[in-house]
């Protein structure tokens, strides 16, 4: 690999690090705030998690979670935080697509687009898999 290309890679890494750290920070804050609201409204005996029931529809889909979180429901906000967390690596892959376009490295633009497509499939259509 040539010198300028390596420097370019390193600058790409720096931006990526900031992106990852912010994603985790926003996600953890949302989960924490949601957790406080959730606990302040739950002085009931613990839910029995031994029996698997699955989450209700509104806590499974991107649209449903956004709707619940907008109402400031504790569980909805936690779920939104988790969604941000799942989206963080996806954003990193998306960023890599642009970085490789900037470098005119078309092989890796294609490779990264494939990874991105697989991730989007899992997030938006994978529930029925």
């Amino acid at each position: 690999m040539t010198g300028p290309n390596l420097r370019q890679d390193q600058r790409m890494d720096q931006i990526m690090a900031v992106l990852l750290r912010s994603g985790v920070l926003v996600a953890a804050s949302l989960v924490f705030i949601g957790g406080v609201i959730y606990l302040s409204r739950h002085d009931l005996p613990a839910i029995n998690y031994r029996v698997f029931q699955g989450e209700p529809q509104e806590l499974r889909t991107v649209g449903g979670i956004l709707h619940e979180a907008a109402k400031f429901h504790g569980r909805g906000l936690i779920q939104l935080g988790l969604l941000v967390l799942i989206a963080t690596p996806v954003a990193r892959v998306l960023f890599s697509v642009f970085a490789f376009i900037y470098e005119k490295d078309w092989t890796y633009v294609a490779i990264t687009m494939i990874v991105l497509a697989l991730l989007c499939y899992s997030l938006f259509g994978g529930g029925g898999l």
Binding site: M1, L6, D9, Q10, M12, D13, Q14, M16, A17, V18, L20, R21, G23, V24, A28, V31, F32, G34, G35, Y38, L39, H42, D43, L44, P45, A46, I47, Y49, R50, F52, G54, E55, P56, L59, R60, T61, G74, I78, Q79, G81, L82, L85, I86, A87, T88, P89, R92, V93, S96, T107, Y108, I114, V115, L118, L119, S122, L123, G126, G127, L129
Partner: protein
């Protein structure tokens, strides 16, 4: 036990798991599933959902630190992520059709392997291997910082590494773990990457692989906010504390203790799987 007590206890256990996982390099995710199922009697599907979320959190947090050091190989990582994400989708699809007891047994076996490999001595292999045709075409050869300055290395065994990565992805989707051990095996052994590069690149990939499975688990309703909240915050906090004190810590004996604990949990999970108690 009320909801507050449950949340605090799970959070505390996850904090400890994240702390030990970060110190020993095994990751906190591996003990989350046994802890939730054996100690808190949580259904394994909820446990896997929560563990996946914690894997993404620690991997993204640690990757942020690693990429700055310039160790990870972005091209190798991105190419292999095709294999791991396809594997993760397959694993998550297979998990739907397997009985929870079978998943528990496979989990136990994966735990035993992780415990063993964490104790094996790692030796740096020769970095002067010849260039490889596929790796050259994919422009994977790179360099990394050592005491002697930037050192060039060549990448080999791309097809074998790709195949192993598919397996790592399947395990991740099936069990909700990062499969970092298999990833390092593929890059270190099969592709002959320098050890530091394979470890950091593997960590950088964990988040993407886990995100592929997590999307499916979320859509299926396996990710419960009441469980995932204390697990995510606990593991993340624990791993951050662990990373802080890692520099001066004596890790060898700790790693042995952690491996024994994991081995014990593995046997219990396998036993419960066969006894149909999951």
């Amino acid at each position: 036990m009320n909801t507050l007590e449950f949340t605090l206890l799970v959070g505390l256990g996850s904090l400890l798991a994240g702390f030990l996982g970060s110190l020993t390099g095994l990751g906190g995710g591996v003990v989350i599933v046994p802890m939730l199922t054996l100690l808190f009697h949580v259904d394994i599907r909820y446990a896997i959902g929560a563990a996946l979320v914690s894997v993404i959190a620690t991997s993204s947090g640690a990757a942020a630190a690693y990429v700055k050091e310039g160790y990870s190989n972005v091209r190798v990582g991105m190419f292999l992520e095709i294999a791991t994400t396809v594997g993760a989708l397959v694993g998550a699809a297979v998990a739907l059709h397997l009985h929870v007891s079978v998943i528990a047994i496979i989990f136990g076996l994966a735990l035993i392997y992780s415990a063993f490999s964490s104790l094996r001595e790692k030796s740096e292999h020769r970095s002067d291997v010849a260039p490889d045709r596929i790796a050259t075409w994919l422009r994977m050869d790179s360099s990394y910082p050592t005491e002697k300055g930037m050192t060039q290395y060549h990448v080999r065994g791309v097809p074998l590494g790709f195949g192993l990565m598919f397996g790592a992805g399947v395990l991740s989707g099936l069990l909700g773990i990062g499969s970092g051990v298999v990833k390092v095996l593929a890059m270190d052994q099969a592709m002959k990457l320098p050890f530091k590069v394979s470890t950091t690149t593997s960590n950088f990939m964990l988040g993407v692989t886990a995100a592929a499975s997590a999307g499916i688990y979320l859509g299926r309703g396996y990710i419960d906010p009441g469980i995932a909240m204390p697990v995510m915050l606990g593991v993340l906090g624990g791993s951050l504390i662990g990373a802080r004190i890692l520099a001066g810590a004596k890790v060898r004996s700790l790693r042995l203790v952690f491996a024994v604990v994991i081995g014990f949990l593995a046997v219990e999970m396998i036993y419960n799987g066969f006894a149909g108690k999951m």
